[in-house]
């Protein structure tokens, strides 16, 4: 067994880190958030240049032939820098959905453009208060002639207003709760009948709620039928890389808070000398160690093609729960200044909480784990 990244993975991670250290410190990020730009186009082209956008895709469309696990070390660095670019949603979800299609000309074209950095894609999945599992999808794609008509609303679609293509998860039959009848459709975000309510997320990303009113989709734009398992795989991939991002954020929080407790003085001494504060730091480090270990183990499982739904639930719930505990402890340790927009700790908190809320909150996953038979110890 080994849980270390290869030399190539490490080199890519280090190049991304060097670039972000130079151009994407906290002040630069604050300036970006205050601008009208949804994300940094310069950073996005640099990610394309470095090969990040090509990493998980097949070589015959210009990809590097890696797997989703190859994005993990880079994602950790993105998390440390709190990047707002929609890489996880464009690559793991929208891009991943394109690869689910067999020999689909339009999908191949979009994929090539995504890899080169020329375009980005959005993935329309969530509805109402969040969807923990694909079977809960309610939005209808009613069969009509050779194609479908979409009606309903998708919530929290990342990068929706900037997207050149959109993949929509909907159902052609059955109702919410039914794993049958799901489909992945390639949709033009500018198609007639689509309206968007754009917003910035609490953690600085660009997203929108997207309404579909009698939107026609051609039969040729089906990327996957019987799509429950393909959608579940995409969500699993997204959870892995977003969890990596959160673990990167946790690493930063532990470092920043340790430094603060060492230098900040009250009652004439560094606050880290108070046992209550010191023990909170210890708990942060323990939480980090657990989340980090589960991330590394899950990454190795994913690389071996052995990551089960139960493993994903463990990763999602643990990183969400540990992330929240670390981020809340970081704000508390910083005291009043931790409450301000000008310090990074609160921004990390918001990043962690967004992850915790998406794709099933910890309670959902804990109950799923508790209610399922444990696998044999190995």
């Amino acid at each position: 067994m080994d849980f270390l990244f290869t030399e190539e993975q490490t080199m890519l991670r280090d190049s991304v880190a060097r670039y972000l250290d130079k151009t994407y410190d906290f002040d630069a990020r604050q300036a970006l958030l205050r601008s009208e730009a949804p994300y940094s186009k310069a950073a996005w082209s640099q990610f394309a240049e470095l090969g990040v956008l090509a990493l998980p895709f097949p070589e015959d469309v210009g990809g590097l032939g890696g797997s989703i696990a190859d994005l993990v070390p880079v994602a950790e660095v993105f998390g440390e820098h709190l990047t707002v670019e929609p890489w996880a949603f464009a690559l793991a979800l929208a891009g991943g959905a394109l690869t689910a299609a067999d020999n689909h000309a339009a999908a191949r074209k979009h994929l090539a453009d995504l890899i080169s950095g020329a375009s980005i894609g959005a993935f329309a999945y969530d509805e109402h208060r969040g969807i923990a599992t694909p079977a809960q999808i309610a939005m209808t794609a009613a069969p009509s002639g050779a194609g479908f008509v979409l009606n309903g609303e998708k919530r929290l679609v990342f990068g929706a207003t900037e997207a050149d293509f959109m993949v929509v998860a909907a159902r052609t039959a059955g109702q919410a709760g039914d794993p049958q009848g799901l489909v992945l459709l390639l949709v033009d975000p500018r198609a007639s009948g689509i309206t968007m309510a754009p917003f910035r997320t609490q953690d600085g990303r660009s997203a929108a709620h997207v309404r579909f009113d009698k939107v026609s989709v051609a039969g040729a734009d089906v990327l996957a039928k019987d799509a429950h398992d393909p959608i579940a795989k995409l969500i699993s991939d997204a959870i892995l890389v977003l969890a990596a991002e959160v673990v990167g954020a946790m690493t930063a929080l532990l470092r920043i808070t340790g430094a603060y407790a060492t230098t900040r003085k009250q009652f004439g001494v560094a606050i880290g000398t108070f046992q209550t504060v010191a023990h909170r730091l210890a708990d942060m480090k323990i939480a980090h160690a657990k989340a980090y270990a589960s991330l590394m183990y899950s990454t190795a499982l994913a690389e071996a093609g052995r990551l089960t739904a139960r493993d994903v639930s463990v990763l999602k719930a643990q990183v969400g729960k540990m992330g929240r505990s670390i981020a809340e402890a970081a704000v508390q340790t910083h005291g009043g200044v931790g409450m301000t927009d000008e310090l990074s700790v609160g921004h990390y908190l918001k990043r962690v909480l967004a992850f915790e809320a998406m794709f099933g909150a910890p309670d959902y996953h804990f109950r799923k784990i508790g209610g399922s038979t444990s696998e044999s110890v190995r």
């Binding site: 340790g258 407790a261 880290g272 270990a293 109950r367 784990i369 110890v377």
Partner: protein
Amino acid sequence: MNIEFGPELESFRQEVAAFLDTAPTPAIREAGRKTTSVFAPFEQAIAWQKILNTKGWAAPAWPKEYGGTGWSVEQRYIFAEECRKRQLPPLLPNCLQMVGPMLIDLGTEEQKRKHLPLILSGDVYWTQGYSEPNAGSDLASLQCAAVSDGDDYIINGSKIWTTLAHHSNRMFMLVRTDKTGKKQEGITFLLLERTDYPGMEIRPIIGLDGFPEQCEVFFDNVRVPKSGRVGAENDGWSVAKHLLKHERGGSAASPALLHSIARIREAAKATQSPFGGALSDDPVFQRDLGELEADILSYRHFEQLAISGHPMVRDAAYPSMNKTMNSELSQRVSIMMTRVSGIETVPLQLEALTVGSNVAPLGSDFDLIAMPYYLNTRATSIYAGTNEVQRDLIARTVLAANR
């Protein structure tokens, strides 16, 4: 990354499994089922060690030249995992995991030759004489004194939390040999080759579970030979610190915790929920059990990273993090067990808990051990350095990174 153990380890696992399926006697298996502490019932733990020793497997972590197995870290983990899966009694840690490895590292050739074979064979049992009534977490303030007299030391004072001392015939201990300087600098490490020296008295302490596991030991002008000293006089603290590494690190604890989760899940199927139906179908129970299991799985991942030699094991906080996680998860498991057993935890069943007893438990085997296990497991966050002390050590590494 590579998640696989590899085919040679899978055949090793089968070899281990085949032996473990047949070698333990019924009494040893019963002792495993009735183990409610990190210390298994004494007689059966020793009997099991003797059987393992005939196979050469009593001390997996020792170097081969001293009678160890020469197994890799992965092999040792697999062995521990297979033992836990079968709920076999753990071997008593004082000898094989503590004084043995310490002697291998720091003992004289004569001490090694004299003690290691007997430790391995299970013919001696060493109790640990560290804590005193006024020296627990602050161990260095210990007062039990040894005064030099020719080739001997004369010991006066007392020791407490000497585990299973009433079964012991050897003791390793820390004594004060100098009261003048820094408190850590006047301590000496001694090996006692008897626990029935004139002037030495052992009194068992009844624990919360109703059984004597711990003892108090009193020394009244006890004369012991200086040849039992490990390291130099007044240098015992560094010996003890070395030994603590063996006590805290290198764990394979998650298999036992996961095994407990499986037993809790089984027991919950046979338990009625107050809302009707089986407790195992109760959503709140499922959520809480899932939260605990997920946390144990993260700890398992932490252990797996450690056995793979991940750089995280070189972090000075690693042993303390491991101890804290392990102990607190054990406590949460014990709470979950009592939660499932409900009122079945209330009867006191000392006879039924005794190995070989003809008194049957009032309920299931699970119910029998739930409360004693819960009570004994309170100790895990106290012994081997309280979790408060461990958190101090962990925090130091977070703060030191910034100095």
